[in-house]
Subunit: 147 residues, 2 copies
């Protein structure tokens, strides 16, 4: 992120830190995995520049960002066969453009509610229920920026 | 929606009904406004065909859908100057592709949490706090499919 220092905003946690486990990055965006024991296959595509809204981007950048979101979604579908993929760009708390890409399962702790709802049940070792180990999933996700 | 009967799925509420106040439509998609007193400027862009995931669409249709989402977001920003716009495609309960486009305000009933979180405060007559009447907002949103 060193090439774009001028766009950093002091105090913004997504300007100052990766915001999760860094999976892959380009100058324009990065993919991280959130550390969420309840929803282990939870990735975010984070725009490098500090902008709040998706439509703050020019159309070509909007499209680039969404193509990356689509690629992450595709990997999650191919590798995990989730019950559903959830996509969201909220940013109410951290208004630095990022997209959530979350594989959801009918056994997960909040299904069928969104991940921001109260927990519906206790699910221990959710990570172990995935059809492949998280490091292997991370590797597959990392490939999307090389395609 | 009569031209695409073959893609309807019996029992799917978004195949069988509009799913809200119909604002505008094309063969491929429609825009509705949800009836949410806490979040009055809550629109959905619903794909006509019954598909579950955004990446079930071919890339050109994905792009068309997102361009419509962007246009709705732009209208909400221009007309309401919201604190933030929230975008999401979840579909856990109704797995028929639809995008939520929601104008959020720092005074609203769940701010800064997502609209799916428990209510943080009571806000009466939220609709009246918008900077223009909802019917006028609906008209502005309807224009996006004519551009």
């Amino acid at each position: 992120m060193g090439q774009r220092d001028s766009t950093r905003v002091a105090g913004c946690e997504l300007c100052e830190r990766d915001g999760g486990l860094l999976i892959a990055s380009t100058d324009k965006l990065r993919i991280i995995r959130a550390d969420d024991a309840d929803h282990p296959a939870f990735y975010r595509v984070i725009w490098t520049d500090h902008v709040a809204e998706w439509t703050d981007l020019v159309p070509a950048d909007r499209s680039l960002l969404m193509q990356t979101v689509a690629k992450v979604e595709t990997v999650l579908r191919e590798q995990l066969h989730p019950t559903k993929v959830n996509l969201a760009s909220l940013g109410n708390v951290v208004p630095h453009l990022h997209w959530h890409v979350i594989a959801r399962f009918d056994w997960d702790a909040r299904w069928p509610a969104p991940v921001w709802a109260p927990r519906a049940r206790e699910v221990s070792h959710a990570e172990q229920r995935l059809s492949l180990p998280l490091p292997e999933l991370d590797q597959a996700v990392a490939q999307v920026l090389k395609r």
